[in-house]
């Protein structure tokens, strides 16, 4: 179980701090929504370990994650944009998710190829992110996140700005991932995304 326990954070110029508190079970999706500036991205960054809370704790299977660095947390993220290294091709971007030094086995290579096929990007491995559409980039980012096999998936507006085909494909992928037991924290403005994917909704 993921437990966010009285997690308090405020930026230096912020008057009243945020206080996050909720629990989610594996295989469930919690949707976070609220107006711009309500703290959705901040919560994601706190969970991922990119920001340090002032107090409170994040527990996964009763173990605190607060002292763990981002790479040591059982978490992987997909944001609305800037998920890929622009100067590295698709294969390398995904490969770095599997091994941070790109020391890939033949099984890893095969996993990448099959993964690209499964998200409709067969033959796109050598392309640069800049040569892909928004939807294709998000598929690559999501594939990398899924191949990392982390039990918690953070999604910060992952479907915003995508065309309907891309949205449909990514929603299906996320539903499958949820069915496999992955815990999803989804920050989304979109009512339809929340309705389709979320088991509970948390308004900020």
């Amino acid at each position: 179980m993921l437990e966010v326990r009285n997690l308090v954070f405020a930026y230096p110029d912020q008057e009243s701090p945020w206080n996050f508190h909720f629990t989610v079970e594996p295989g469930q999706c919690i949707a976070i929504h609220g107006a711009s500036g309500s703290g959705k991205s901040t919560l994601m960054n706190l969970l991922a370990g990119f920001l340090e809370p002032q107090s409170g704790d994040i527990l996964w299977q009763d173990e605190s994650l607060r002292q763990r660095a981002p790479w040591q947390r059982p978490i992987t993220s997909v944001f609305q944009e800037h998920n890929l290294f622009e100067h590295l091709n698709v294969e390398t971007n995904i490969g770095l998710g599997i091994h941070p030094g790109l020391k890939l086995t033949s099984e890893d290579q095969q996993a990448i190829e099959q993964g690209l096929d499964s998200v409709g990007l067969e033959g796109f491995g050598k392309r640069l992110p800049g040569d892909l559409s928004g939807g294709q980039r998000q598929r690559v980012a999501l594939l990398r996140a899924l191949l990392r096999q982390k039990p918690i998936l953070l999604l910060d507006e992952p479907l915003t700005g995508l065309d309907s085909d891309a949205r449909h494909l990514l929603r299906q992928l996320l539903l499958e991932e949820k069915a496999r037991g992955t815990l999803i924290v989804l920050a989304s403005h979109d009512k339809e995304d929340r309705k389709l994917l979320a088991d509970s909704v948390h308004r900020l």
Partner: protein, 574 residues
Amino acid sequence: MNNLAKRQQHGLPMPSTPGRPAPFSRPGWQLWPGLTIASALVLLSVAGLGALIWEASLPDISQLWQSRYLRTVVTFTIWQAFLSVLLSLLVAIPIARILARQPAFPGRAVLLRLMELSLVLPSIVAVSGLVSVYGRQGWLTGFSSDWLGVSWNLYGINGIVLAHVFFNAPLAARILLQAIEGAPPSQLRVAAQLGLGRWWYWRAVEWPAIKPVLPGVAALVFTLCFTSFAIVMTLGGGPAATTIEVAIYQSLRFEFDSGQAALLAMVQLIICGFLWWLAARRGLTASLLPDRRVASHRTKAGSSLQARLADGTVLGLFVLFLVMPLLAILTRGLPGMGSAFFPQGSFSVNPALLDATVRSLAIALPAGLMSVCAALLILASGTTSKRPAITRLTDVAAYLPLIIPPLVLGTGLFLLFRPSLGSSSEGLVLVTLINAMMALPFVLQMLKGPLGSLDSASRQQADQLGVLGWYRWRWLHWPRMRKPLALAMAYGTGLSLGDFGVIALFGTPGQPTLPVLLYQQLGSYRMDAAAATGLWLVLLLLVLFSVFNRLGSPLHKTGLATTSPRRVPEPEHA
């Protein structure tokens, strides 16, 4: 059931799991090597200066205003540096404005590269070119005395300031151009829409753009002119035109008066140190090197023909000012090169030239490499540490070599290590070390931007993926740094190759480097041989730059883009 087991159950591909953490991923690896080098630099500088003072107790400070010689030296140093800054900026500002106004004309990119040449063109070579144009027998002197009845004496303050302007006006113009081209696009759009005239365009766009960098540029040019050595040695006209740096050399080499040298060094340190302290306090040390990317210009099209002609005329004169000495080096050097490489009609390299070349490269290549490695490590520790004291230490270490006279540093270190520094080859090791230190501020400036160009989104991605330490360097920094590193290596090596300061003190006349050989040939009036050596030195620099440029070009290798990485905007929080 864990995620992995479920994945297997669903028949999805199974990637292998990563093993050990990335090599060199502990924060200490980014902090300690650079911090050690920075501390060593500060310690070596202080110890060098201390050794000099210890060796021969500091003379009475009142000598500074009582001794006529010392007073003249200090006053002259400040005066010539002030004049050089003033004239360099008077040339640089209009040239930068014209280049910003004229975004596309044939040869613009070549001109911009030519303007960077002053960073590496050895002063002694440039001086030989300037003498060929403005000297007693020079092209322009002959033309002006024959046709206009005007003549001048290049030696003394005239020549020193002219050479300083030749070196520093292009550098300053290049930095100011960069500042103008970096003006906010919104301002440029508004200015273009309003059709502002030149005066108002200057007031509204250009002046606000260059104002923040102008004091830093002035401080940089002032320091370079204040500490100038080779130019004053060759063009100075006796005691009346001697700078502190040359006086230190004379004290050490001829008068064996290390006390006086230390006193002068302290004066230099105080003046330049105060200047850089002021500059650093106002955050002026950034952007003091030209960015090699040729910016695409975005504004102010449609000048009148008359205005374009005026711009063209000024730019033409500037190009002549830059190119004439270089052409002189080429035309005078070519015949000499014939006798250096084909003495009896068949190819055989002049042994003196060959020895000097090998010796120069043996000093310059390790010096370049050392400066690049030191700069990288210092930058890494400066960015890793969040403690202001450490960041300040790395800043001080980086800019210290700009203000401490290399001769003083060299002498101090020589005295410090004297029992173990006996042979000339050990002296050359010292020269290499000091050359590396002297190149450090420039190399550091070159690498600072590219190393810091990793945006926060990429850093966060890398953090989450565990792309740390060596892996981060390999996959994220190296593709961005490859070219700047090669360029920095070329500049570091080039600066050392053209050094005629430290080597003049520690080198032995029988074992000259190329600049020393050139100086010896100039001193013995073997002008053809000197011209050939000068040209050979320039050619060597060109080869060096093209080799490093080739090495810096990205390989067509799987996984890496051949284009330079694009910056992504910083994400907004919450």
